[in-house]
């Protein structure tokens, strides 16, 4: 059967807690930083910095990506490709 992604709403409080637990810091500029090295977190999908507002968490060790529609669409393409290979 075809497996698709299902997105759940996440409140600001839950997102803040989840990102913190995953090792990210949200600085005053609104962007995510890696707590270990202090460097800005770069979305593996779009190669861009990720703001707290746009941060979207997807399966794959709770990977954080930029959540604008085009980035999510790109993630879905990769997700579908992996599903086909399985």
């Amino acid at each position: 059967m075809e497996k698709t992604l299902k997105f759940f709403n996440i409140t600001q409080e839950q997102k803040r807690a989840l990102l913190k637990a995953l090792g990210y810091e949200i600085l005053e500029d609104g962007f995510l930083y890696d707590k270990k090295n202090g460097k800005p977190y770069i979305c593996p999908n779009s190669d861009e910095k990720v703001s707290f507002d746009s941060a979207t968490i997807v399966p794959g060790s709770l990977l954080v990506i930029k959540g604008d529609p085009l980035s999510v669409s790109k993630y879905l393409s990769e997700f579908e490709e992996k599903q086909v290979k399985k």
Partner: protein, 242 residues
């Protein structure tokens, strides 16, 4: 059937545990539970969950699947078309969508051609384009050849489309169509929105009666779609057939 906790319950547990200063081991255990559930059930978490679900849903639709078969799943515009199809669907349902931020993002990623694909969605034209590409596939064209034609179509979009306006005359519309016919464009589209539908239809009917379409080796396919504001739109795909 499963005894899984809901993701919302796990998230609440996480928020509570962190607010109480739980140990790293406790937090890791909760994260592990959430990660396992998300991986197994393919769950994602987003403040824009509606858009995420709309994108996932559109991926299951025939139109998107056909497009992937036609131009290949690795075509650069696939991700843009998925978004374009969501925009078209939202328009059809009369749902508001922040199209300007999508266009800004599209522009920064792929330049004007990215915006063109999103515009195909917002005008509803994307369905007509996919229908045309599907016909090419039925004619046994190779994926790479269809992909090249699609690229050319995107690049020339402004030159191969006529958006008839409500105050256009039938004769000026006919002239515009004839110009595209004389240019021997492989394919071009005419769109008529709202009150312009009748003007587009009459112009094409007259050209048809005057045999200006067939004698120039064109055939045309009509379609009915909805535009960005939910207005009825007629579209005509003209195809050179020699």
């Amino acid at each position: 059937m499963s005894g899984d906790e809901s993701p919302q319950k796990i998230l609440k547990e996480l928020v509570y545990s962190m607010s109480k200063g739980a140990t790293a081991a406790v937090i890791d255990k909760i994260l592990g539970k959430l990660s396992k559930l998300a991986n197994r059930k393919k769950y994602g978490f987003s403040a824009s969950h509606k858009m995420g679900n709309a994108l996932a849903e559109i991926s299951k639709r025939d139109a998107f699947k056909r497009l992937k078969e036609c131009v290949g799943a690795d075509h650069w515009a696939i991700d843009f078309c998925r978004v374009g199809l969501v925009v078209a669907e939202s328009n059809r349902l009369g749902e508001k969508i922040d199209i300007s931020s999508i266009k800004t993002e599209a522009l920064s990623r792929e330049g004007p051609k990215g915006v063109t694909v999103i515009n195909m969605g917002s005008t509803g034209a994307i369905h007509s384009v996919i229908a045309y590409l599907s016909k090419l596939k039925l004619e046994n064209l190779l994926t790479e050849d269809i992909a090249k034609k699609f690229d050319k179509m995107i690049e020339n979009w402004d030159r191969i489309t006529i958006f008839v306006k409500g105050d256009d005359s039938i004769s000026s519309t006919k002239s515009k169509i004839l110009k595209l016919i004389k240019n021997e464009n492989e394919v071009f589209w005419i769109f008529g929105y709202g009150s312009a539908r009748m003007i587009a239809c009459k112009a094409i009917a007259e050209l048809n009666n005057e045999r200006k379409i067939l004698e120039n080796d064109y055939i045309w396919d009509p379609d009915h779609i909805k535009d960005g504001s939910g207005k009825d739109v007629v579209s005509f795909a003209f195809k050179l057939c020699y």
